[in-house]
């Protein structure tokens, strides 16, 4: 187990460097003047250009720039925006909101998705099964921004149940609807995954054995069937947490949530390269570590899987 984790950690390094380098190159190696429009309507004074070039190592080859940036990042220094604001502070302000939103989304999709999956998976074909299949189909087909807009206008403006704009330090209650919107697509997948997995395992030998031993139905389902069937679901939920944080741009935009997504979107539009690379690096790191965690968890949940 220890060796497996170590090997995976080593494998993470090239992937991490590859992903962050692509973003770094895309953001910084663009042809064109990086200072265009930074000083208002006139062109930047030479002293400013010289200082900025030195500070961001712009006169060196891209690969050197990148590794200097990475080294600086590992000392915990995210750098500054062009206006001199510490990017670390910006991230520290926005990150808790996004994490909260992602966790709310994950909880909603986990609870509703698994519940719907179990209900339909155990009962088999029937009205409820068709209902869940069709409604998940609709959730999968709806782009997030359409769901978000419709819910915002309907619940917020028409019924006045929620605030259409979420404040800077939102409570869990305020994040319920945005979380639902963010998690709706994955919720449909979770429901379908649970259902398929249960349907496949329902006829497995170990379930028959457990029933034949005279165990109560509750125990057969709760301990034997669910524990085995939920393994792929847990895997999906784990990887999804990493994906939800990076995917929150649209949801945060619709509900005016001041999280990482809004920050990075604004940074991309205003060409704040430092902010973009910093946030993307962070997101990629979270995503990769979540994947590793899920793989390790897999072995804990399913003792048949051995990595050595």
């Amino acid at each position: 187990m220890g060796r497996y984790v170590l090997r995976r950690l080593l494998q993470l390094i090239p992937v991490f460097i590859g992903t962050t380098f692509i973003i770094y190159a895309l953001v910084w190696a663009v042809p064109g003047d990086p200072f265009a429009g930074k000083c208002g309507e006139r062109s930047c004074p030479p002293s400013y250009v010289a200082e900025m070039t030195a500070r961001y190592h712009l006169d060196e080859p891209l690969i050197v720039q990148y590794f200097k940036y990475l080294g600086q990042l590992f000392t915990g220094n995210f750098g500054e925006t062009y206006a001199g604001v510490q990017i670390g502070d910006l991230i520290a302000n926005a990150y808790p909101t996004t994490v909260r939103l992602a966790v709310v989304a994950l909880l909603i999709e986990g609870v509703i998705g698994v519940a719907a999956g179990i209900l339909t998976g155990l009962r088999g074909k029937g009205f409820l099964d068709s209902l869940v299949l069709i409604s998940t189909l609709f959730l999968i087909s709806l782009p997030v921004f359409v769901t978000g807009f419709v819910l915002k206008v309907w619940l917020g403006t028409e019924l006045g149940l929620i605030k259409t704009s979420v404040g800077s330090d939102p409570s869990i209650g305020e994040l319920l609807v945005p979380g639902f919107v963010l998690g709706s697509l994955s919720m449909a997948y979770v429901a379908r995954l649970t259902r398929t997995s249960l349907m496949e395992n329902k006829r497995a030998d170990y379930v028959r054995t457990a029933t034949a031993k005279g165990l109560k139905q509750n125990r057969v389902v709760g301990v034997h069937l669910l524990r085995n069937s939920l393994i792929p679901v847990v895997t999906f939920l784990g990887t999804d947490l990493g994906a939800l944080m990076g995917g929150a741009i649209v949801t945060e935009g619709v509900f005016n949530i001041r999280g990482i997504g809004g920050l990075v979107y604004k940074a991309i539009l205003t060409k704040e390269g430092m902010t973009v690379t910093g946030i993307v690096t962070l997101l990629v790191l979270v995503y990769l570590l979540m994947n590793l965690l899920v793989d390790v968890l897999y072995a804990v949940l399913d003792p048949r899987i051995r990595y050595d």
């Binding site: 992937v15 991490f16 189909l137 087909s141 709806l142 359409v146 807009f149 990076g246 979107y265 539009l269």
Partner: protein, 330 residues
């Protein structure tokens, strides 16, 4: 997109890409010397079974009808409407649906029905090309990495993870802003190609993973071992033996992804980074409508409705094909 199913009654042969070897079996068909013509009398294969199963599924039929209508809309929008989608009459700004304009008018007084019909083309083309790119790159990389294994597999898998680690929307935004400076307004085809490329670049690892696991499973099969024992080159084994047998799961993914990519194009247009005027697409229309949703919901309702129904049709088609191909369900 109906090809995978429409061509399924014929054997796997049609699924192989045009390879140099393709000419030989075609010749032997007419000559009738090889064992192949005898196969036609045999019980149906995987694809034949699936087709037999599919035509009995209402979900498949509904999805096919929707997709056929949509394709007609893409090819001949004039059949559905004679109004110019970019003709604006400011007097009619945001007028509701009427007998004259079934879906009403948008902010600039353009006929929404006509725009929705004409918008199908850009949306579907982006979806189709992006799916094609994703499947092509993913299949090639996936089958190579599954067949060769070892360090090739390790290298290619790590390489694909690089792109998998990038959040989709974020990656697409970075790519699209990098190649378009905000000052210039790029031409329609250029933006379409950029959107297609960014979707394909960020999605191929999923197709690659599916193809890779199918190829690893197929590699263990007796027919591959037999082919290798007979001295077939890796190229022949991959193209003639493994590819036809590994294609099914990727095609199912492609059908479902096609719907998703149409939605992705709309999301990018909504963010103001995808297609732009004068190109008409559903995403552009939805993006235009967002300031006025409360006052005139029909601006959002009709393009969004078309978008959802289209995505729904492709997801349904993919679902039905997957169920038909999955032997576990029988």
């Amino acid at each position: 997109m109906t090809e995978p199913t429409a061509s399924s009654p014929t054997t796997e042969d049609t699924q192989a890409p045009p390879a140099p070897e393709q000419a030989a079996p075609a010749g032997s068909y007419s000559a009738g010397t090889s064992a192949r013509p005898a196969e036609a009398e045999k019980p149906r294969g995987l694809w034949g079974d699936a087709w037999h199963d599919l035509v009995r599924r209402p979900m498949f039929l509904v999805a096919s009808v929707i997709i056929l209508v949509l394709l007609a809309m893409v090819a001949f929008p004039q059949l559905f409407t004679s109004v110019d989608p970019n003709h604006a009459d400011l007097l009619k700004s945001r007028e509701g649906p009427s007998a004259e304009a079934w879906f009403g008018y948008d902010l600039q007084g353009r006929d929404i029905f006509s725009r929705t019909v004409h918008g199908a083309r850009a949306s579907v083309i982006v979806g189709l090309l992006a799916t094609l790119g994703t499947v092509l790159i993913g299949s090639v990389v996936g089958i190579l990495s599954g067949y060769y294994g070892g360090w090739v597999d390790n290298l290619l898998s790590r390489f694909s993870e690089i792109f998998l680690g990038l959040p989709f929307v974020l990656g697409a935004i970075v790519i699209l802003t990098t190649f378009n400076s905000p000052q210039e307004i790029p031409s329609g085809t250029r933006v379409i190609m950029q959107v297609v490329t960014s979707i394909a670049v960020l999605s191929w690892p999923i197709a690659m993973r599916i193809m890779r696991s199918a190829a690893i499973a197929a590699k263990q099969q007796d027919y591959v071992k037999a082919a290798r024992a007979l001295g077939a080159t890796p190229r022949r084994i991959i193209l003639r033996h493994m590819l036809p047998n590994c294609l099914a799961p990727v095609l199912v993914y492609a059908t479902i992804a096609l719907g998703g990519f149409i939605g992705a194009e709309a999301t990018l247009s909504y963010l103001g980074l995808g297609l732009k005027f004068p190109v008409v697409s559903w995403g552009v229309m939805i993006s235009d409508s967002r300031e006025f949703i409360q006052a005139s919901p029909h601006l959002l309702l009709f393009p969004a409705g078309f978008l959802v129904v289209t995505v729904l049709a492709f997801v349904m088609l993919g679902d039905a094909v997957r169920d038909a191909l999955d032997p576990k369900q029988k």
